[in-house]
Symmetry: C2
Subunit: 220 residues, 2 copies
């Protein structure tokens, strides 16, 4: 956790500024409130917990558990869920490779807005491609934490909570990650959780401990 005396070294407010952006008619408006002031007011920093794992690995379950535990500690937290976002913001997108990338791009940008607002946002998307996750990391910056739900495809297929593997095996779903489309596992995620072998409480506790270690939230 960053000490308050450390925060005092930063100015509480930056002046509103209005700089034209070269070659455009757009202007960048800076906030009247610095990130440090937000942290002081909220008592925690902003962050993106980027969950990645196969269908059925437990992303949504873990995401919503972490959200609840954070909220109960007074942390402003919110889940961006693959399925939910696709019904609204990204309802114009298909599951083609191009649209999958656009899906992740938009989610990264929204996650960045939440992180910038001072929230801890938890994204729950398969996000099978390393390149897309690298792009998300670049968009968000330092406050990006990749959380790999390391559950093998056999375990996920046995679980099959939504019956999707069965449909994929029957050829009813094309380009299904782990069956007919690749999943590129993270090489160096900030944290790996084995949601196939431990209860969600255990995985959630590890994620919160990491946020404490990284100084995003205060020790519980």
């Amino acid at each position: 956790m960053v000490e308050t005396r450390e925060l005092r070294r930063f100015p509480c407010y930056v002046s509103p500024m209005s700089d034209s952006i070269k070659g455009t008619n757009l202007t960048w408006h800076a906030s009247e409130v610095s990130a440090e002031r937000r942290r002081e007011v909220h008592g925690h920093g902003g962050a993106v917990l980027w969950l990645t794992g196969l269908s059925g690995s437990g992303k949504s379950t873990l995401a919503h558990r972490v959200e609840r535990l954070l909220l109960e500690r007074g942390v402003f937290a919110y889940v961006l869920d693959g399925d939910n976002v696709r019904h609204r913001l990204n309802r114009d997108l298909t599951f083609s490779a191009e649209d999958r990338s656009e899906n992740i791009r938009r989610v990264s940008e929204v996650a960045k807005l939440f992180q910038d607002s001072g929230a801890v946002v938890i994204t729950a998307f398969i996000s099978p491609y390393r390149a897309d996750r690298a792009q998300a990391r670049e968009t968000v910056g330092d406050a990006f934490f990749e959380v790999h739900l390391d559950v093998d495809v056999d375990t996920c297929e046995v679980r099959d909570p939504k019956g999707l593997y069965k449909k994929a095996r029957a050829g009813e779903i094309k380009n299904f990650t782990g069956i007919s489309a690749p999943y590129e596992a993270p090489e160096s995620p900030e944290i790996k959780v084995r949601t196939g072998e431990e209860p969600v409480e255990a995985s959630a506790a590890k994620v919160l401990a990491m946020l404490e270690d990284r100084g995003v939230i205060a020790a519980g």
Copy 2:
């Protein structure tokens, strides 16, 4: 403000549910946390303050002032700024009529996500078309508050903080709202502020008073 005893009538948590959505392979995951529980934890509700007005009417200035005042009262607040969002999430969009609508559609969806998370989000977009604002209102629901910055085009043109009216008059910018493209003023906004005639502090105070009246935030 909703009383705590009122909130107690609601269940604190809803069970995680996982219902398939008809005709799709998507599933809707409900939060483990109810809106009422979020309100208890944060001490305020979520809302969208949808600012609308001509270029130069003072939307960004008012938005950032309201954001700061809310934060200083411990309210989780964030500005979605037209210019800023266009540089990131919506950087693929042009200023054609179709893309302007898509711009507003995406912003509405993001604003809804912030409102759902329990934040007070302030959007600062010209948003000249009634139909687009009506769509945004429908997307957000009850917690949508339209804030009309009622400043006439002559005043905005004299101010011309970014030199855009000058360019528009010279024909260097096409489809410029108020000059060569229409601005459809709101017929029944939740609040109207005359940022051309009063200091930003006065307008901001009115917006905060409305949020108090509507029970979004506690009386200051």
